[in-house]
Structure formats: C-alpha cells, structure tokens
C-alpha cells in the first residue's frame, strides 16, 4: 500500500467521536472484588443521567465482580494499610473503595 493510498484512507476515515467518562464507585464488605456492595456512587460525565445522594436504596451491582462482568473497568482500589498502634479500634471512612469507569462516545 503506497503512502499516497494510506493518506487517502486516513482522510476518508470519520473523525473520532468525543469520549466521556462514567465513574462507578463501589464500597465492598471486604477487600475481595467479589464481596458484597455496601455503598455506591455513580457520576455520569455524559450528562445523560444525574445521580445524587439518596437516589437509590439498592446497589447497581451486588459485587465488584458483577460490575466487571458488565463491562466496567477497574482503575483504582483502596490500599490495605496496617493499623496504627493505639488507634486499632478507631473507625472513620468506608474501607474497601473501588473506582470503575466506562468510556462512552458522545455526539460532537
């Protein structure tokens, strides 16, 4: 295939459609991705849906693994950290946090 032909093909290719990120945050019952969901959040960068605090009483996925099977890509998981001496029983934020994403094409 000549350079000329390649350039011609590229010129005929449709421009890529813009991408937007959907983010799903799952809080699980332990550090295993197949453990049950105890809390969740959804942030939709496409603007198609608006999620907010208190908008659902049942999680979108029963486990993190169920989200993977539905096409969500895991991109961050909370670390397992040792417990500070003297503060072993202090509890604060939810412990097992997993961030997933989907990249969605939108109309330009």
């Amino acid at each position: 295939m000549s350079k000329r032909t390649t350039r011609g093909a590229a010129m005929n290719r449709p421009a890529p459609r813009p991408l937007r990120q959907k983010v799903l945050v799952l809080y699980l019952a332990n550090s295993a991705l197949d453990s049950p969901t105890v809390a969740w959040a959804v942030y939709d960068g496409t603007g198609e849906t608006l999620h907010m605090a208190g908008d659902a009483d049942e999680p979108p996925y029963a486990t993190g693994l169920a989200a993977l099977r539905d096409g969500w890509r895991l991109f961050q998981a909370s670390q397992l950290l040792p417990h500070t001496r003297g503060e072993e029983f202090d509890l604060a934020y939810l412990k097992y946090e997993f961030f997933f994403e989907q990249l969605v094409e939108i109309d330009p």
Binding site: V38, A53, P59, A92
Partner: protein
C-alpha cells in the same frame, strides 16, 4: 424542667448501637400548627429570585428567636411558644433527661426548608439532595450531644425527607468529607406523619433529601449537650449494678437458637446492612465502650469482644 418517663435500657442500647430514636406523631397537632405559624410563610417562587434570598428573608421575618449558644435549654424559648411546649412534652423531657441528664444546654438550632422544583427553576439553581455528612467537625469524645429533628408536617417520599444511616455515629469523620458516598445500604428516609421527632447522636451520617414534590418541606433541628454527667440517667430498674462483672456470657458463634431479642446484649451486637465484614466487630467494640461509659460499668461486655482483648495473663 421536670422529668417525664425515662427511656428503658433497651431503648438506650438502641441509641448506643444505631445512633437514633424515632418517635412518630408524638407532638400534638395544635403544637404543629402553632409551629408552622411561627415559622412563617414562604413566598411563591418568582422568576429570577434565588432561593437563598427567599430563605434569608423568611428566616429574618419569622417568630422563631435567635438563641445564644450556651443558654440553658429551659430558657431557650419564650414561654408558650411552640418549641417551649414541644420541649415540655413528658416524652421529650424524659428522653432528653435519659440521654443528657438534667439541665441540658442549648447549642444551636436551625429551620431547614427544602424547596420544590419550581423554586430552583425560577431561581436558576439545581435541585439536588444534600451531600451526606456528619455535623460539626471531627469529634473524638465518648460523650455525645443530642440533636432533635422535628417534623411539624407530614413528609412524603417525594418530599425528600432527612436521609440518615443508622449505626454510623461512632465513626470519626470530618463533616462532609464522606460526601462521595451517594447511597449506603440501610439508609433511611424520614417519611413520617406530622409531629414526628427523631433523636440523633451528633455523629450520625445524614443529609437532606431532594424535594421533588410541589410542597415546601420544613424540619427544625435543635442541638443540645449535657451540663453535667450524662451517665446512668435512664430507667435503670432492669440493669444489674455496675462493676458486677460480665460473669459467664452467652454462648458465641456456636449457638443452637437465635439470641434472645430485645436485650441490651442483642441490640448492641446487631449489625447494620452497610457494615463491612471485619469492621463490624470494631463497631461492636465501640458500642460496648459507649455502653460502659453510660452505665459507668467498666466490666460490661457482650460476646467476649472486650474480655478477649483485656485478657492478658502475666
């Protein structure tokens, strides 16, 4: 302020474990109507007028007084006002005394108004729920303040209602740092009849629900704290004397029957739907510690959670 009927040990244990007590429809209608009159009218939505402006003007014009922080609760409201009458209800007096002791002190109050969609559309704002948060700031105390949420009119699910998550009150977090959590298993929405009261531990995670109805929603919150010891102030008649030791405790894990319901031990070791599998046990430890503080009983234990940690043979 004289006392009313005191809370039972099981009610206190429920407050320790779950961080709330709910009393539905306990404020008489005439007090509810008086309160709504004193809270004043909210003007109709007007194009170009922001909610903040309407809200500010309504608060300035209503009959609910400003009250200085640190005022004795008994002196916070004018005699005969709706809030003075509410606080003088025997149920309220008894519950407040059980949780804080006598002579509680006023911290602050606020009239929460949640507007229907028409107001947001007219004012150019977005109609969304409040992020889940813990009030005030990081609070490492074992002692607790009490927040009374008063619902002077019926609240339906479309009106939003206060959202709260039972059992979160013992977690030491920094106000709205937890706003990322949109939904938590077991969260509750205050759908209730007029005159309902929700007594909250100051640490409970909560937020105002979005109002999707055509009615403006009101909720009045009063925060108060103890002026002296808040320990052993409830109806202690069914409680063993302090320092009697835990004695032989009930069988754990390998049990052939369900634990007896409605006991202090069972209530303190009942999990919430959102509990993580490992930290649920730390929640039990922290509940037992709070019960020890309130009961003035450093030997109290349930299911060996503390005994195991405190057994340290020389």
């Amino acid at each position: 302020m004289t006392s009313g009927p005191l809370l039972s040990s099981v009610q206190m244990a429920s407050f320790v474990a779950r961080g709330f007590l709910r009393f539905d429809g306990v404020v008489p209608d005439d007090i509810n109507r008086q309160f709504m009159a004193e809270a004043g009218e909210i003007p109709e939505a007007q194009d170009g007028v922001r909610i903040r402006k309407l809200y500010g003007e309504a608060l300035a014009a209503n009959a609910i007084p400003e009250v200085a922080a640190g005022t004795p609760l008994a002196d916070a409201y004018p005699h005969g006002s709706a809030l003075a009458r509410l606080l003088d209800l025997p149920l309220v007096r008894g519950a407040v005394e059980s949780l804080l002791g006598d002579r509680p002190v006023f911290d602050h109050h606020f009239l929460h108004v949640t507007f229907p969609p028409a107001y947001h559309a007219a004012g150019g704002g977005e109609n969304v729920s409040q992020h889940t948060h813990q009030d005030s700031t990081i609070d490492p105390r074992t002692a607790f303040d009490l927040q009374i949420m008063y619902y002077p009119h019926a609240v339906t699910r479309p009106m939003g209602g206060t959202r709260f998550v039972p059992g979160t009150h013992l977690r030491k977090v920094s106000e709205v740092a937890l706003g990322r959590y949109q939904n938590i298993r077991g969260q509750q929405h205050m759908v209730c009849e007029a005159g309902t009261l929700l007594f909250l531990h100051h640490g409970i995670w909560h937020g105002g629900g979005v109002n999707l109805s055509d009615r403006t929603r009101f909720m009045f919150k009063i925060r108060m704290h103890a002026s002296g010891p808040q320990t052993r102030r409830w109806d202690l008649s069914d409680l063993p004397p302090p320092n009697s030791g835990p004695g032989p405790q009930r069988p754990i894990f390998y049990r052939k029957t369900a634990p007896e319901p409605n006991t202090v031990a069972t209530v303190l070791t009942t999990p919430e739907p959102w509990f993580e599998q490992d930290t649920s046990r730390l929640e039990y430890v922290n509940r037992i510690r709070l019960w020890r503080y309130l009961a003035e009983d450093p030997t109290f234990d349930v299911d060996y959670w503390m005994t195991r940690l405190e057994t340290n043979p020389v």
